[in-house]
Amino acid sequence: MNLTINGDPKTFSDVHTLADLLAQLNLTPTLLACEVNETLVPKADHVATILKDGDRVEIIRMIGGG
């Protein structure tokens, strides 16, 4: 499946849901936020969110700032 992650095109196999994607990227969903096609997907919905070819996913975290 072809996805755009944080603006970069990437190809995945064995990824069906948003939760699968995060697991494959070695990301724990705490302290993260995800959007699929610019719609915020709350943590509780990661498992139920089915990704499809061409989806644009944003994975957001906090970082140092003022």
């Binding site: 944080n6 970069d8 302290l31 709350p42 957001i60 975290r61 970082i63 140092g64 700032g65 003022g66």
Partner: protein, 267 residues
């Protein structure tokens, strides 16, 4: 003490430190952690950004934030209302907090706030249940409008972000202090050194938020400690009430009983 020191309450939480610090620009995570501890701050700001999938160096950021700190996510880098709303909602999802330091910038060179968009975004976010700490210009009228919209704190700038120039318009900071009566006023951005923080507090504001002044100091940990003292000294001086300014000298020692000839004014 004749003047009481009421506690500082922001969005329902009481803070004993009136210094608020950012977490950006530190050379190392250890230096950041030590500086945060030295500052005595109880609330720190963070930015909301994309995960960098090619460089996971920042993954340990969270581990270096001292436990118990209140985390205030910001909307830094947003130049329009839609982006600021989007980042605010992402921040709430990341941190599970209603707090947001709302900044909507109008220009990349000065990073001055676009107050029209700021007011617009504030209106939406307050309705959505956010507790908005609004980064704004040193404009008392806008400050009052923000208070009317229900922000949790009004945060006028001392000078442009990261400029370290200190308070450019002390009169208007004082006007803002007078205009905003129901929520705290925090000076945010533009502080360069401890005397700038002290001056802000002497003007009667409730606290000071800074990042670059500490992070870009030669010794950030020592500067964090200096800022803490500057804020405390300024607060105490404000509460103490300064003496009036006079044009000419008044003797500190008694004028009666002086030995010698009576002097004359040279003017």
């Amino acid at each position: 003490m004749t003047n009481t020191n009421p506690p500082l309450i922001i969005a329902g939480k009481t803070y004993s430190s009136r210094l608020f610090v950012g977490t950006g620009k530190y050379k190392t995570m250890d230096l950041m952690e030590q500086s945060l501890r030295a500052s005595g701050a109880e609330m720190v700001t963070v930015a909301i950004r994309r995960v960098n999938l090619n460089d996971r160096d920042h993954d340990d950021f969270w581990a270096h934030i001292p436990k118990g700190m209140v985390i205030l996510p910001n909307t830094a880098g947003c130049f329009n209302t839609a982006d600021a709303l989007r980042v605010s909602r992402l921040a709430r999802e990341v941190l599970d907090t209603p707090l947001i330091k709302l900044e909507v910038l109008g220009d990349t060179k000065t990073l001055l706030p676009d107050v029209m968009s700021l007011l617009e975004a504030t209106k939406v976010l307050v309705k959505e249940g956010f507790q908005v700490l609004a980064y704004t210009n040193d404009d008392p009228i806008v400050a009052k409008r923000l208070e009317d919209l229900g922000v949790s704190a009004v945060m006028p700038l001392a000078a442009p972000i990261g400029s370290g120039r200190g308070i450019q318009n002390p009169l208007q900071i004082r006007f803002i202090r007078e205009a905003v009566t129901s929520v705290p006023v925090l000076v945010d951005a533009g502080v360069g050194t401890a005397s700038d923080a002290a001056l802000a507090m002497e003007l009667g504001v409730d606290g000071v938020l800074m990042n670059t002044a500490i992070a870009e100091a030669q010794d950030p940990v020592l500067m964090a400690s200096a800022m803490k003292k500057g804020v405390d000294a300024g607060r105490e001086a404000f509460l103490a009430g300064r003496m009036p300014r006079r044009d000419y000298a008044t003797p500190s020692s008694p004028v009666a009983g002086v030995v010698g000839h009576a002097p004359v004014s040279g003017l």
